[in-house]
Symmetry: C2
Amino acid sequence: MATLNDIGVAAAINILTAFAFFLAFAMLRIQPVNDRVYFPKWYIKGLRSSPLVNGSAFASKFVNLDLRSYTRFLNWMPAALQMPEPELIDHAGLDSAVYLRIYFLGLKIFGPIALIAFTVMIPVNWSNNTLEHSGLTYSDIDKLSISNIPIGSHKFWTHLVLAYGFTFWTCYVLKREYEIVAAMRLHFLASDQRRPDQFTVLVRNVPPDPDESITELVQHFFLVNHPHHYLSHQLVYNANKLSELVNEKKKIQNWLDFYQNKYKRNPLKRPSLKTGFLGLWGNRVDAIDFYTSIVERLSRDICGEREKVSSNTKSIMPAAFVSFKTRWGAAVCAQTQQSRNPTTWLTEWAPEPRDVYWENLAIPFVFLTIRRLIAAIAFFFLTFFFMIPIAIVQSLANIESIEKALPFLKPIIEVKFIKSFIQGFLPGIALKIFLLFLPTILMMMSKFEGFISLSALERRSAIAGLAYDHPLCLPLPYMAPCRIPKTIGVSIPMKATFFITYIMVDGWAGVAGEILRLKPLIIYHLKNSFLVKTEKDREEAMDPGTIGFNTGEPQIQLYFLLGLVYAVVTPILLPFIIVFFALAYVVYRHQIINVYHQEYESAAAFWPDVHVRVVAALIVSQLLLMGLLSTKEASQSTPLLMTLPVLTICFHRFCKGRYEPAFVRYPLQEAMMKDTLERAKEANLNLKGFLQNAYIHPVFKSADESDSESESEWERSPALVATKRTSKRFTPMPSKDGGSVLSLDQVNDECLKP
Amino acid sequence: MATLNDIGVAAAINILTAFAFFLAFAMLRIQPVNDRVYFPKWYIKGLRSSPLVNGSAFASKFVNLDLRSYTRFLNWMPAALQMPEPELIDHAGLDSAVYLRIYFLGLKIFGPIALIAFTVMIPVNWSNNTLEHSGLTYSDIDKLSISNIPIGSHKFWTHLVLAYGFTFWTCYVLKREYEIVAAMRLHFLASDQRRPDQFTVLVRNVPPDPDESITELVQHFFLVNHPHHYLSHQLVYNANKLSELVNEKKKIQNWLDFYQNKYKRNPLKRPSLKTGFLGLWGNRVDAIDFYTSIVERLSRDICGEREKVSSNTKSIMPAAFVSFKTRWGAAVCAQTQQSRNPTTWLTEWAPEPRDVYWENLAIPFVFLTIRRLIAAIAFFFLTFFFMIPIAIVQSLANIESIEKALPFLKPIIEVKFIKSFIQGFLPGIALKIFLLFLPTILMMMSKFEGFISLSALERRSAIAGLAYDHPLCLPLPYMAPCRIPKTIGVSIPMKATFFITYIMVDGWAGVAGEILRLKPLIIYHLKNSFLVKTEKDREEAMDPGTIGFNTGEPQIQLYFLLGLVYAVVTPILLPFIIVFFALAYVVYRHQIINVYHQEYESAAAFWPDVHVRVVAALIVSQLLLMGLLSTKEASQSTPLLMTLPVLTICFHRFCKGRYEPAFVRYPLQEAMMKDTLERAKEANLNLKGFLQNAYIHPVFKSADESDSESESEWERSPALVATKRTSKRFTPMPSKDGGSVLSLDQVNDECLKP
């Protein structure tokens, strides 16, 4: 059992680490040379082109010589908090702003709870000496926990009352938050400028027709069934192979650049390499010629493939992006059933163009169900096998087991400090490492499941991630009989120390590490020194990264769960959680303002998930408390506790009915309003031109428009840019055909370009 | 324990009863005087105006003197089966035709199952003598049941395999049936003629507006948000008080007629009555004058009330029937969310005019949730208190308990025959009596819950009814620990005899009694002799009745459950169930053709409920078998059994996804097709006129249009009739207002009529 002392050591270590990170960050960020690593957002938005240097000397281009700036090394924190929310929304999108609200929600919920818990419960728990008299080994932490209260004592009424209080408070805050976010979303949707996805619906599972091609079929179907609203459609191509080629070309191109730079540096010897494995053996060739040849070959392949895709009907999927003349028309089509057979002509809102996950659009709809099934099974097994390492970690938590396992380590372990280190620090970090590569697996799985938008993918794998964080809260040795809340109830308080360390490692040091961005920093400097030739290359070299909803959200949810579970049981845990939320809020706010670059804008579509998970955590905590109290022979309280989950579920259903529709459906009133407004503002708007190529597969846009650029275009004025750009390159189909199909000439013109 | 002998007695009694009923029916139906009782449907359809009499003698008007017709007294059975299904649909509507299919489904499922069970399982069960050696009391029935198989025997594999076989067969039949019914529904919807509900949507919870009246509000909202489709709307009035008055007037009118007839018969003395309670005391007055005065007073009140309703804005509910120019427009409006706030402007398909349950339209939407809650609680208590009588009945099932309870009865009971009677007959009939008045209670509850269409009401109370039939399958003495399937598993086989008797009483005699229609027969003749003056009165005197989905369906479901549960456990039960299904099929087919008159046409909207409940029954049976086998130490089979429910659930989800949409949503393609067709056929159709008063509260239609008539009008050519009739009486609003509001003059013209 970890003592307060061990916790102290762990706390010290973590706080120091955190501070080290902050210090390093403060140092590095003011170096002009790192400017693009720590302020990429501003570069992408075009508000910053070169490092702001105060000195004009040559050196000051790379190193900040202004010593004053070193003194106030934490001044980024207030800076991060200054930007008001509306501005933040303009700057980084609604998703980011609402994502920050999750952290703030944590503070709102746990702040008051902690206050009450400390003033009321800690004294109640402390004023007993059950544990001394019980033969159990216990830590001082446990003395502050519920386990210190004698069995059958009337003091449990305090916990009962507080459980009610905390539940009501949490629900109240949740409701208000849901209300606000829903309003924000509706306001955002109402106020933001014209976007292709407002007019577009994704149609899937177009039934095959012997006489008509897909494009004719789609056009006819919608001309018949939405005569006044149908505008045009964009076919979906299976261009996965093509995009693979393009990516490979990019990679090879990098190597070519690398060697060319190398050659430029010392023109005396041309760089050469071995063609064998990892360039370790094989015959030596001239590197530049070698890669040039490959690049040329790839370009040829790409042209060929591109031609094939656009000519071959096999590569046309039975799906299409159908655009309508009005938002109203799109809203109607997205919300209604089209055909007699409910499994064909399936319509759903099209995701934002940059949010589309093109690979999965190529999956035939029939396979999706199968894939789902497989994914479910895989998920089950993954969970099962994942338990094992976690269980091992858990066993690491108590030093005795180590000594048993590796007796020869005993002398070392017995050293006071190392012991504390192991006790208070190792388990958390080991667990963290295990959990690190989870998101990747989960992301792969969700991709396999065939979701067609990045936002959906991230939300999905966030849900899956949750499934792994939750078990952590149920001590795994007890996993098997965990159906019986008793078992857990008993062990919950005993696990408090473990979770405290986990919070400090994952929550404190982890978050602090996030701001340092070591990986991007290194990669940037590597690229910068080897690959970068032009400014544009430098642009590409910097990797702003994104919020990563799929990784961040489950973590937050874990903390919500921990907080709610331990609020009544071991309130001492709460301050640690509050510190985490506060720290994370500041850090991520800074990152969102200066670093992250959002990939897509889902207008906070993820909030219902967040809400329902906090509610779920609430219910779990109530059930666990019930189990715990039942062991304490405070059974007369059980019926009262029983009602809590019921009430909570009622609350959830109310919220669902009241607010969720704002996140899943688009009210016709809204649509009509915007349509009318728009018609009034710009009567002669070329909507068709605007939508023409919004949903073209990115690989059909030529290389010089990197994703980041096209994205930022969407941010500025999508309409004009999109149209200008594409009209230059793509020749639209003969007018009679509503849908635009890639025609050969445009393909060639693609290929003719240098 | 009931022996085969007891069962024999019970069977004899029931078969005799059934035959007695059939004989009586055969006698009565060919008496011309009963013609309107046994063939009302034909009168309502206007295909029959006077009894078909062969002899022309006066007597033969009342008594059938043709002796030949007595000889072939069962010839109605083949007659009932002759009419082909399409004709049946034309004749009695899709609901009735599909309702019959439920009985037929029972035959399709249990026929083959019984065959296999008898060839395979009975021998397997019989060829043991576990029960002899066990000390248990057991009946010969049990010797044919699974309980006769030694513990841990390998013979259980037979049951396991058969459980799989039966499940697959049931699912297969269910799927095919679902497919067929869905197709029938779609074909019906596509082929049937224009109905107001195809164009109309019910809008509820119109948000209050200080400046605009409801009618303006509705009109403006839909003119704005469905500009090209909105046609008109019909406000919803709270006319409950008015309709009460109208009904009371009708009742008094009956009395008046009664006394007038009486006076006509012997003009010497004017009839008189005492005004006091039940006419037992109070001062004696002239009956005719008395009732005439009351009628006049009521007519005055009605006029006053009608005026109040139509003038007073308070009686206008915040709801409206909104009609659209096209089915497409209505389908869109019904399937989409209208306003930002998801709890206002709620749209749903309007039920058929004659299907509307007007009383509940007057309930403010906000109260509905509260009512639901109250209903749920009431339901819980009802269940609870209902258990007690049922439990008593159950205890009656074994004679020993009676003897214990009433020892003085011992000598009587011990008489062989009486004993058998009690054993095999009493429990079933007693239980039946208990269950008889359930539907009424449940119907009241569903009405309280505020459903707005009769079909919904009936479906709802059918669901509730199920909740009471199911416990019957779990022997109630064991109710408390019934969570543990073991307890039930053990007792299931022992309860077989009880259920056999129940099936015979409820299923055989009950169904045979249905065809006799004693109650309507008596009532008709009473009315006929006392009230009837004109042909029209005679029309009204006959009460065709309806299928009564809410009472019939749970009964069928009970039999499905019994059959599926006992198919593997005690196959001997199956023949009894098959006989029930066969008998019921013939009887109800006859009734539907000749007697019942459908109140509404929901186009088989109830089928998904039927389907899901059979699936549920299947799962219950699988779980019970699992519990049973687990007690038989055939635990190695459990995992195999576990998979069965999972598979069944998968099957259900597949069916839900594939077929259910056909029952809940109206595909735009369909709508568009019918619209186009119609436009082509009758270009200049006055749709507005057609829809104008389709959704007027019935009490605003004057008395001379009795419900039955207006209904039959819907059946014939609703459009013309409705328009002619109403245009004569109602003056539509000034054209600028799309909605028609009752105007004073029409009210007066109502009241001026003699």
